[in-house]
Amino acid sequence: MGGTTERRVGVYVCHCGGNISDYVDVERVVAAIRDEPGVVVAKNTIFACADASQSEMIEDIQRHKLDGLVVASCSPKLHTTTFRGVAARAGINPYTYTQVNIREQDSWAHTDDPAGATHKAISLIKGGIARTRLTEPLEPLVVETTRKALVVGGGIAGLRAAIGLADVGLDVFLVEKERELGGWVGRFGTMYPHERDGRELIDGLVAEVRGRDSITVFTNAELMARSGSFGNYVAAIRINNDLPELVHVEVGQIVLATGFDTYQPESGEFGYGIDGVVTLPEFKAMVDASSGPLTYHGRPVRTIAYIYCVGNRQPGGNEYCSKYCCAATVHASIEVAKLPGSVHQYHLYRDIRTYGKYELMYTESRKRGSVYMKFPEDMPPAVALDASGRLMVTTHDTLTGGEEVTIPADLVVLVTGMVPRRNEELMGLLKLPVGTDGFFNEIHPKLRPVETVVDGVLIAGACQGPKNSAESVASGLAAVTQSAAILKKGTAELDPLVATVRAVACSMCGDCLTACPYSAIEKAEVAGREVAAISPSTCKGCGGCVPVCPEDAIDLRGYTDAQIRAVIDSMLEEPVA
């Protein structure tokens, strides 16, 4: 179609209750864009996203034979999909829809300048109309998928995910770096909140895995390379036996469940390095191994001081909360209280986060004699040896009005949290982004919690961020559901808003190859000439390659150079108020 035949566009300007109309003169905006080229319908609406408004749009599109839709409302993140759906239901191509953001980028940002906000809304909408006039009908890319999944990491999340994937009828490859399956949980004794032994849990899961023919387990193995594209990856797995061997498997999805590391305190951090100062995992192992009175290096332990939030919630360091450690420590203290002999337990904390049902454990530990002492954030406890070689922990107790207290302790437990695994190789070969905290990032923390920006690569368990084992299993099963939803269909639809190369214009300079963060561009032979070719299933439509091309040979569908120029021109038409 292009710009030769005049398009018939419907424009709807949303009040968003008063979120927009309190600052933007919506009536004036509609009047200003009514006579733009191509505009057939121009209306304002109190809530564009309301069912009635959507029905009205569909009616308008059909009655006026519209072939383009513009809604000026909120952020595209919220309602692009909604109004693409309206277009599709009205019988026109969903990619002729343009969302114009006059809320986050206008009314909310310019509450002090209604005239300016109104002017800006007109400009933005004119730009949106210009883009829609130059849209071409696009169809989603449909790719066939391989009905197999790869799970990386054989901890509790990976094991549970592998079983789940097998049970929905997929072939599963499970890769574990260590010699044994089981991860952290496989080393734990009694765990909260169900008082089951971690080793037993893992033994049960491993037995289930071994009992399924559709699961192939590679231990002592690592993911070395990934090629192919969404739905059809080829994974290279190196098995580190005496004679290392490389295995290639075809998979439709990759579930990463690579877990976490625990924070390792610096020498001298809260006395770490002094005999009798241990981390939470070291302490957990001690308690798990105890059946009689608790001892440390053969000496009886009668007083324990726990120091919480070590290596966590530190400005400039690990600013996040690891959220499992409070409950794990409280649980361990209950286990200690159950052992024969009496142990005085002092919990020195900033905040106790035994959320949800774990709160009951906190109450129980208090009933069993644990004393909780909150220290001010800027006055952390100090650990030192006194003249007689006894561990002394000095802190300030908020509940006595901040009085300084010194606890003679036999054991000091540094409640260390989770840190991201150092696995740069994996990040590099999967092109997975991590957050500022170093954990893998999901697309949306609420609505798309296990998907990553790399299609077909899902994350589960604590590699995404601190989780306890129950939460890790839940996210593993979420990854199963998400994988099955795609792989069971046999095909997958991809967004068609990807970059394309005009082969005739390409000089194969290679600039786009290095610009692409997703390795979607490869060299290819076209009519005896070497040119750049973009895999539509690998391309994410980021547009990074477009400006680096010296020949202007690359265009991004939906955001072509022509469209962007038209948007800019239209926005500049409106004189600055």
Binding site: H344, K367, L399, G401, E403, E404, T406
Partner: protein
């Protein structure tokens, strides 16, 4: 100054009858309801916290411990049934035991059986000791000092007084040093210079006269639950009646001895009922008997929070006071009977033995509060005065 934790503190205080206050999560309801919580808004919550954490010196050095009269409002409003009022009472018992270095108080408090045995044996000892020197029982008139020699009673009393004075002084010094260290009060703050002396004088007046003899806060602030009762049934009056009665009897005894020393009247000389010293003794005796009897009735009826949780130590003190008072009164009756009864001699021996025991055990039992509370109140007033003066 850092407080070294004694992890066993709470368990130790529990031996003195405290509830398990580990349930306390410092919500502060006790502070909100307490009529005495007028300092920094942490009383009595902070004292419970000291016990939880194991801050022994802080607990023993807290003058606030002794300001409480156990009205029980805090225990009624405590959401965790930690019984703050009961805890405070137990902490005071613990404090009495801790200020005493002989461990006698600790034994009497923590082992009611041992306490009872000590009390009975001691009274029996005094009785046997004095009976060993007994004379004839005159049947014409009640010649009490003919039966038990006056000099023996007098000399035994002096020895007992000296022992009590030394033990009491040691306890007071231990306590006062603990509080002073905590309050950062040096000796010159108390007696160094005219201003300090004036301040101390005011604090002493407040502690001894206004609060102890006058029971000001007990009367004005802490009678919260029994407002419906007539004045003579209220806790403060019953307590004051007991105290005034005891002090009156002590004064009458000393005055009677004083009159003998200056040669006005020999001890034991029959006097009419209106004779001033006799009148004082009679009235004081009535007050003591009324007070202790009502205290016993209140405890039997569990008439209030404080009276509903009676320990052996409470009964021991009440029993000794009541027996002393009643036996003394019987002697007076015997003296005025036309025909001297033979039981008068035995009641006299009993009275003297129990009274000696009461005085001798005072620093090691609940009686000790009679000195510790004024000492604490002295520091309490002093602290208020100092903070008002901008120290």
């Amino acid at each position: 100054m850092t407080a070294l934790v004694d992890a066993g503190l709470l368990a130790d205080v529990q031996k003195f009858g405290a509830a398990d206050v580990s349930a306390c999560f410092s919500c502060g309801n006790c502070t909100a309801i307490c009529p005495l919580s007028d300092n920094d808004g942490t009383f009595p919550r902070r004292l419970i916290r000291y016990a939880q954490v194991g801050m022994k010196d802080a607990l023993l050095g807290s003058k606030e411990l002794w300001t409480c009269y156990h009205c029980g409002e805090c225990s009624d409003t405590c959401p965790t049934q930690a019984d703050p009022g009961g805890f405070m009472a137990a902490a005071r018992r613990y404090a009495i035991a801790s200020y005493d270095r002989t461990r006698l108080a600790r034994t009497m408090y923590t082992s009611p059986l041992a306490g009872s045995v000590i009390a009975i044996l001691l009274a029996a000892f005094f009785a046997v000791f004095m009976y060993a020197s007994h004379g004839p029982q005159s049947t014409t008139s009640l010649q009490l000092f003919g039966f038990i020699p006056e000099a023996l009673i007098h000399n035994t009393g002096v020895v007992v007084m000296i022992l009590v004075f030394l033990a009491g002084l040691a306890g007071i010094v231990t306590m006062a040093r603990g509080i002073a260290r905590r309050e950062e009060i040096a000796l010159h703050d108390v007696i160094g210079g005219r201003a300090a002396l004036a301040r101390s004088g005011r604090a002493l007046w407040s502690a001894l006269a206004v609060e102890s003899l006058g029971q000001r806060r007990f009367r004005a602030d802490c009678e919260t639950v029994q407002d419906a009762r007539p004045w003579y049934r209220r806790r403060w009056f019953i307590h004051a009646s007991t105290m005034w009665g005891f002090l009156g009897l002590l004064a009458a005894t000393i005055l009677d001895y004083g009159l003998a020393v200056i040669g006005v009247k020999a001890t034991g000389t029959p006097v009419p009922l209106w004779y001033p010293v006799r009148l004082l003794g009679t009235l004081a005796g009535l007050f003591l008997i009324y007070g202790t009897t009502m205290l016993i009735i209140d405890r039997l009826q569990k008439a209030n929070r404080a009276a509903s949780d009676s320990k052996a130590s409470d009964w021991t003190l009440l029993a000794l006071l009541w027996v002393t008072g009643v036996s003394g009164f019987l002697i007076e009756i015997a003296l005025y009977l036309p025909q001297p009864p033979a039981w008068g001699y035995w009641v006299f021996l009993f009275h003297v033995s129990v009274a000696m025991e009461l005085v001798l055990l005072a620093p090691f039992m609940k009686f000790a509060h009679a000195v510790y509370r004024p000492v604490a109140l002295f520091f309490y007033t002093l602290a208020g005065d100092r903070s008002a003066a901008g120290h």
